[in-house]
């Protein structure tokens, strides 16, 4: 069990910078997700941490000790690959045993044929078999130990890959999109299991995914990466409610946050399509407002915006309504309780106001900027 520090990691392939100086501290026992769109460098960062790739510059430390010179085999980390990377010619038991035989048995004891008859080999092999069985029982795959990976379902292979990772109790687990090859139902199931595993083992987990829902449901903290940079690191709540960057706001949450293009006039008042929004800019000019679908409410007075109903999506538990709003390029989505079902018609005009505490402002560079309430300022 250990902390993991990445300090100013840079990586370039040829002329392209894949990682542009990423620094990240991961606490002992923490479940940290690296999330971002594909090609943002998150898998490369994980492979650098694992030692399968070398960084162009920067330092990786585990438990406070720099490990840049160490080979992957010596870093005491375990990794679960997206493709599971099981050895297809070995049984499940042999697959899970590989990390143990490689570390506990000597080179001679590993030799096929004579290896098992060398002194000490027998008892070590029995120990390994016991450890493998315990791991398999924990993951509920003990009945599959004699099968080959080719005979297993996707979910079962996933468990074998996890078993191979946890069997030697590494200081941290690295998981590279482990659920992306599973069907939707299995994914939700394994999501819960992996999060539980983190709590039960108390080990540090670094989890790479492009699926924000996985990151939100499983993690203690999430690091959002885009174009080789960390945009924000924080708890799922912080990322959802207080995104530091407009790209983070857009990436996290489904359906996506509503981004309203606004103008800041000479007096600092923020206007949407010429109309007052009830907000003032703090320091910087505000160019966009972000409002989550559930922070918008239908109302008659104090309106933030109005638009015509374009589409009503009924999910059973929720109702998502898309509105065409003049001046906003994308339809604005709002979430309503299912009780509102019969009352809306497409084409109908709706007035919306917002839960003011939950509106976020972004400046020209896309960074979050303070918003003030217009009435509060009027009293001063």
């Amino acid at each position: 069990m250990a902390t993991v520090q990445l300090h100013k990691i840079k990586k370039s392939f040829g002329g392209t910078d894949v990682l542009k100086g990423v620094s990240l501290d991961i606490a002992d026992g923490e479940f940290l997700s690296l999330v971002g769109p594909s090609g943002c460098g998150k898998s490369t960062l994980l492979r650098i941490l694992a030692g399968l790739e070398t960084q162009s510059s920067g330092t990786v430390s585990i438990g406070g000790r720099p490990i840049d010179g160490l080979r992957a085999a010596d870093r005491d980390l375990a990794m679960v690959f997206q493709s599971y990377a099981l050895y297809p010619h070995l049984t499940v038991a042999e697959n899970i045993a590989v990390p143990l035989t490689m570390r506990r048995l000597s080179g001679a004891q590993r030799l096929p044929g004579i290896g098992p008859f060398l002194p000490g080999s027998r008892s070590l092999r029995q120990e390994i078999a016991t450890t493998v069985r315990e791991a398999a029982e924990m993951l509920d795959i003990a009945h599959l130990l004699d099968r080959k990976p080719g005979q297993l379902s996707g979910g079962q292979r996933q468990r074998v890959a996890v078993g191979r990772a946890l069997v030697r109790e590494p200081s941290a687990f690295l998981l590279d999109e482990p659920l992306s090859n599973l069907d939707a139902k299995m994914r939700v199931h394994m999501r819960a299991e992996i999060a539980q595993l983190n709590r039960r083992l108390g080990a540090t987990f670094v989890y790479v995914t492009h699926d924000q829902a996985e990151a939100m449901t499983m993690s203690d903290r999430i690091a959002v990466m885009m174009e080789g940079e960390l945009l924000q690191v924080g708890t799922p709540d912080a990322l959802y409610d207080r995104p530091a960057d407009i790209r983070v706001a857009q990436f996290i949450g489904s359906p996506a946050i509503n981004i309203l293009p606004v103008e800041t006039d000479d007096t600092g008042m923020i206007r949407l399509y010429g109309a007052q929004t009830g907000f003032r800019a703090g320091r910087a000019q505000i160019e966009h407002l972000g409002v989550r679908p559930e922070a918008l409410l239908p109302c008659d007075d104090n309106e933030l915006l109005s638009g015509r109903v374009r589409l009503i999506e009924n999910l059973g538990s929720d109702l998502f309504v898309q509105l065409d709003v003049p001046g906003v390029p994308r339809p604005v989505t709002l979430r309503l309780p299912p009780s509102a079902r019969g009352r809306l018609r497409p084409g109908e005009l709706m007035h919306l106001c917002a839960d003011r505490a939950r509106v976020v402002g972004f400046d020209a560079s896309g960074k979050a900027a303070p918003l003030l309430r217009a009435e509060v300022c009027a009293h001063v």
Binding site: R47, A50, G51, L52, R71, A72, A73, L77, A78, M79, F81, Q82, S83, A85, L86, Y87, P88, H89, V98, P99, M102, R103, G107, R110, P112, K148, P149, G150, R164
Partner: protein
């Protein structure tokens, strides 16, 4: 009455169950292939099989059935025993070495950062060249007195190479007549065979190596596999299993078929030490017009090839496919 029956018949067939209709269409579609297979492959083998029990020669009108006499000849006469020994020895020498070299070359080439294509081309050149033409080049190179091989070897005389007893003896008594000495001839032919064929095996192994998932090597590294040899044993070799079965089978069959070099360089000699099967078939069945005997050797040859193919299917293929 009979008219009614006749006209009802085609309709009944048209209304047959779809399975039957499909089966009929399938039979029609597959028939050209079946006919060709019979005419080109099965019929000639059957004819050869029948002729192997006769003393038929080309141009003679009559033939006599001699029963198993041709086969008895093969298994009793010393020249045919030598034929089997030479053929099997050639295969046993050529196959492991050319498969091993093919794998080694493929692994080395894969590990290169630059120059992969150069090495691929160089090693593949002998495969593309006509073996008969290459055999003539080898004949010059291996000429006992004028050949570049023996001349180069002679340059080493007087150096520390003479510590090797064979070398010292050769310096004193002359270097071997590579193709004219019965102790060397088969080995020399096997050497040319290996030189010619391992590039082909290398290409097959290169193709096999590209299909090994890269993640497996990453997983092995994470699992604590440090030594290249362990990595080879854990991943590369097992993953190349299907390729190896194919390469070994192909190389074996090709080695059984060796003919060009024998015909060009040794004509089965000296003292029948390179009297391999295909050359024997050619000599008996065509050159000496003993078709019955040639057919009997052909049957034996087919038996060998069939044995290899069946062995490949039965014993190996099942164990090396993991899905």
């Amino acid at each position: 009455m009979s008219d009614v029956l006749m006209s009802a018949l085609p309709r009944a067939r048209r209304n047959a169950r779809p399975e039957a209709r499909q089966a009929r269409a399938g039979a029609i579609l597959v028939s050209p292939a079946v006919i060709l297979l019979i005419v080109i492959l099965i019929l000639p083998v059957a004819v050869a099989f029948v002729l192997s029990f006769s003393d038929y020669t080309l141009g003679r009108d009559t033939l006599e059935w001699v029963g198993f006499e041709n086969y008895a000849d093969i298994f009793t006469r010393s020249s045919y025993r030598k034929m089997i020994v030479a053929t099997v020895l050639y295969v046993v020498i050529t196959v492991p070495i050319s498969v091993g070299l093919g794998l080694g070359a493929a692994l080395l080439i894969r590990s290169l950062k630059v120059g992969q294509n150069l090495y691929k081309t160089v090693y593949f050149l002998p495969v593309m060249a006509s073996l008969l033409a290459m055999a003539i080049v080898w004949e010059f190179a291996l000429h006992p007195t004028l050949g570049i091989v023996n001349r180069t070897l002679a340059l080493g005389c007087g150096s520390s190479l003479e510590l090797w007893p064979w070398y010292a003896r050769s310096c004193a008594e002359g270097f071997p007549l590579w193709l004219g000495d019965r102790d060397y001839a088969l080995w020399t032919l096997a050497f040319i065979g290996i030189w010619q064929s391992f590039g082909f095996n290398m290409v097959l192994y290169l193709a096999g190596l590209t299909s090994v998932p890269r993640d497996l090597y990453g997983a092995a590294e994470m699992d604590g596999v440090r030594a290249p040899w362990e990595r080879f044993r854990l991943i590369t070799w097992p993953m190349l299993g299907p390729t190896t079965v194919f390469v070994v089978t192909i190389t074996m069959i090709r080695s059984f078929q060796v003919f060009d070099t024998v015909e060009a360089l040794t004509h089965g000699g000296p003292a029948k030490s390179t009297y391999v099967m295909i050359y024997a078939i050619y000599e008996k069945g065509i050159a000496q017009n003993l078709v019955g005997l040639g057919a009997a050797i052909t049957m034996l040859f087919l038996g060998f090839v069939m044995l290899i193919s069946v062995a490949q299917r039965r014993f190996v293929e099942r164990k090396v496919h993991y899905q």
